[in-house]
Amino acid sequence: MSAIPVQQVGRTLYIHILRHNPCDPLSEAHLQTFELEEADAMTLFIALNEIRENHDPSLQFDFVCRAGICGSCGMIINGRPGLACRTLTKDLPDNITLAPLPAFELIGDLSVNTGKWMRGMSEQLETWVHSQGLENADIDSLEQTMEPELAEQLYELERCIECGCCIAACGTALMREDFIGAVGLNQITRFQLDPRDQRSDAQFYQLVGDDSGVFGCMTLLGCEDMCPKQLPLATQIAFLRRRMAMV
């Protein structure tokens, strides 16, 4: 296996990055521009690593799977939240502006603490199957059956990767710190649909039946437009709202 020849396609990219290091008391938020030769099939993952390796080793960003699966690399790309790892530079103009996702605690440059936010959301909404006797579940006998179609529907909602793009794209979330956003509401619909979860509608209502939940949504639809997994978020919220109104 020989080295992959990387063909240069000649375009110069101007990547403007919103820099700030909260660990450094002297740091102030500023835009810094890096010039980069575009390579064939270049993604922002490749571009950012090249900047770190060749231009500024202190640049902070988060990548894990680099395959659009883990949700680590959400950032604002020319004004829109998206996953950097699967954004090809060829789909962007010469000038590319990158900023950290708003609404999350900044760790540094493009790295934000989505993990802490998501764990908080999970704790608040108790995003797990609530069922009696899980600790002593009988795991020797045949499993409970489930309709194949229902299993597929559940997975459809479970494809959320908690990347935070919907929060960054949400008018309410930017104004209300306690808003659980589309990511949280989607989880509620997921567990409400799951027959293994024994919580009642009233209990779900307790969790999301106010302005920090389902009634905080202004139906601007940013969440659904920006969701990298194309989850039907707005539909889910509308559904939940109707259902909550009946409780």
Binding site: P5, P22, A67, I69, V129, L134, L142, P148, Y155
Partner: protein, 659 residues
């Protein structure tokens, strides 16, 4: 330095780590999990195709049981695996999947009635049984006799990890995210926790624990072309190695997956071939049946990857501007199937290749994928050398994969190992051995040592770039310690790595940024990764045989006579430039299945005299037993249930069992 005390410290928030944590917590232990990243972003989330467990619900799986899963796994391992552990695993896997089903994983289910499948390039209609309707279904995978990989579309790992993480949150287990263990604290052969670096602030702190579990996943990033996440740098295995006491098992056993997309190396699942996809060459000829008439595309991964590279070398590759590759064809599965069962694959093709796999071929080439080796433990997950140190999941070598892992056996292993090792750690903490007497000065000493080492890196005297060293290591490994290995190339790799290791003591940082400083992170990691890489290269150089994924072009036969042995690497002298290798015998006389032909791949191997003796012994044992069911027969040959925690010993029920 801040010191945090806990009973159990689990280093790693993937499937293995979190399941072990839940187990220990249920037993009343205080548990803390550390992770480089938010737990749900661990690499387990990237597993696509499935989890093996012999439920046997769907038609393709009917008749499956632990015995067949056991046979497949042992053959897959090319007889490198510890058969006790494989037995424990295949017996517990159905329980693991049923537990996850109760916990919330939306496993795909059997739909009664007719459905179309694709086999050998052709459509067939099969009829699923009424009584199986709604039970967990499974798909075909490589190297297996039955359809055994249970799945959630092609987001199996994601669904499993989310359910697992949510259950850990429900159990109130703290996960300290963006925390990196950089050294183990130990004294007199007893591990007492870890020195940890905060990846947000750069601060060092100490976690002191009765039991410490390394569940840090694989180390694929020592290679340039890998399907692994970029955080898979093997720091857990490395810090175990750096104790100078704990050993790493079979590090030379590295798996290359046949279908990394070319050139990025991102994986498309084996499920593509399991569901009926084909491999084509440059002239769009289906070549695998020419080499492997028995299993074609669904031989084990080591065999398929070798055949692909062989075919490329023979001049049959497709060409692209990035170089040579082959094609994966899943067009024949149809858009409907791809859009529901292979949607991550579809997204990956769409975003990274700009193609639609329902209409276009996918360019693929084998890429580093899995580390069979890792922290050597016994069947309970305990390090035999360092008391209080445990390991589970891909980072461990309790040795159920030997020299080749079967697809779908890894996520299954993570959960099973978590279920077992969580109990082991709780037992240990509750026992007299668990008591911990450790002075703060010892902890401070380990902390200072790390502080000092970081200080040396930051010293402006050096002239080497951490990023450049990392690249050179990865190039060397991909070029010289790949699918086809031989002495000259391995020797070159060993020498290059020695040189890189020397140079890595002279790294100079260009940045002194406050906080975690990504350049400093790269610097201290590359120093440790080089040691792991050397364990792989040097171990491969010494092993003069071919077994599973370790293929020596200059020693193409499996050699049971000389190599029924597991490599154990340690690094007792920190200044040394090579690991110390020792070998541990695998006792054929204790095996349930003595070595033989795998059912695919090469047929010739050098026999061990014990093989015939053991076979005869087994035949006699079974003869003496007389009429008996399969459980009794198994028990007569190689009893294993006593090795399992008591609550995991029950018989697995299956559809169609006699009541």
């Amino acid at each position: 330095m801040q010191i945090i005390y806990t009973d159990v410290l689990v280093i790693g928030g993937g499937l293995a780590g979190q399941r072990a944590a839940i187990g220990a917590k249920r037993r009343g232990q205080e548990v803390i999990v550390l992770s480089l990243v938010p737990a749900k972003r661990s690499h387990s989330s990237a597993a696509q195709g499935g989890m093996q467990a012999s439920l046997g619900n769907c038609l393709g799986g009917s008749g499956d049981n632990e015995d067949i899963h056991f046979t497949d796994t042992v053959r897959g391992s090319d007889w490198g695996a510890d058969q006790d552990v494989v037995r424990m695993f295949t017996h517990t896997a159905p329980k693991a999947i049923r537990e996850l089903a109760a916990w919330g994983v939306p496993w795909n289910r059997v739909q009664r009635g007719d459905r179309q499948i694709t086999v050998n390039g052709e459509k067939q209609t099969i009829t699923e049984k009424d009584e199986a309707h709604g039970l967990i279904t499974s798909r075909n995978f490589g190297g297996t006799q039955k359809w055994r990989a249970c799945y959630v579309a092609d987001g199996t790992g994601h669904a499993m990890l989310y359910t697992m993480s949510n259950q850990a949150i429900a159990a109130n287990i703290p996960v300290h995210e963006r925390m990196e263990a950089i050294a183990l604290i130990h004294q007199d052969g007893r591990c007492c926790g870890a020195i940890v670096r905060n990846l947000m602030t750069g601060e060092l702190l100490a976690y002191v624990a009765k039991a410490t579990c390394i569940a840090t996943g694989g180390f694929g990033r020592i290679y340039r072309v890998s399907t692994n996440a970029i955080i898979n740098e093997g720091m857990g295995a490395a810090i175990a190695l750096e104790t100078g006491i704990a050993t790493l098992g079979n590090m030379e056993a590295i798996q290359f997956h046949p279908t990394g997309i070319f050139p990025a190396g991102i994986l498309v699942t084996e499920g593509c071939r399991g569901d009926g996809g084909l491999l084509l060459d440059g002239s769009q000829h289906r070549f695998m049946p020419d080499y492997e008439p028995e299993k074609a595309e669904l031989a084990s991964r080591d065999v398929v990857s070798r055949r692909m590279e062989e075919h490329i070398t023979a001049g049959h590759a497709a060409q692209s501007r990035f170089g040579e590759h082959l094609w994966l064809d899943i067009r024949l599965l149809g858009a409907q199937h791809i859009n529901t069962k292979l949607r991550e694959v579809k997204e990956i093709c769409q975003y990274f290749l700009g193609v639609d796999p329902a209409h276009d071929l996918i360019p693929v080439r084998p890429a580093q994928h899995y580390s069979m080796g890792g922290v050597r433990t016994n069947h309970r997950g305990e390090s035999p050398q360092l008391r209080g140190l445990f390991s589970a999941g891909e980072s461990a070598c309790w040795d159920m994969h030997g020299f080749n892992r079967l697809g779908g056996n890894s996520v299954a292993e993570t959960v099973v190992a978590g279920m077992i090792v969580g109990e082991s750690m709780a037992d240990f903490c509750d026992s007299a051995d668990g008591a911990l007497n450790i002075s703060t000065s010892l902890v401070e000493h380990f902390g200072k040592q790390q502080q000092q080492q970081l200080g040396i890196i930051a010293d402006p005297a050096g002239n080497e770039s951490a990023f450049a060293l990392m690249k050179q290591m990865q190039e060397t490994m991909t070029a010289n310690v790949g699918i086809f290995r031989d002495e000259p190339r391995l020797q070159e790799a060993v020498t290059t790595l020695q040189d890189l290791q020397r140079r890595s003591r002279n790294i100079r940082l260009r940045s002194s940024a406050a906080g975690a400083n990504p350049e400093l992170v790269a610097a201290y990691r590359v120093q440790r990764m080089l040691k792991l890489a050397q364990c792989v290269a040097y171990g491969a150089l010494q092993r003069n045989e071919s077994r599973g994924a370790h293929f020596r072009a200059d020693y193409p036969q499996r050699n049971d006579l000389d190599w029924m042995r597991r490599t154990l690497a340690s690094w007792p002298d920190a200044e040394a430039d090579l690991p110390t290798l020792n070998y541990e015998d695998l006792d054929i006389m204790r095996m349930e299945i003595p070595p033989g032909w795998r059912g695919y791949g090469a047929r010739d191997y050098i026999d061990h005299p014990d093989t015939a003796r053991r076979q005869q012994q087994i035949d006699t044992l079974l003869g003496e037993l007389g009429p008996a069911d399969r459980y009794q027969q198994q028990e007569a040959v190689m009893p294993f249930k006593q090795l399992l925690p008591e609550h995991l010993r029950g018989t697995n029920q299956r559809l169609g069992d006699e009541e």
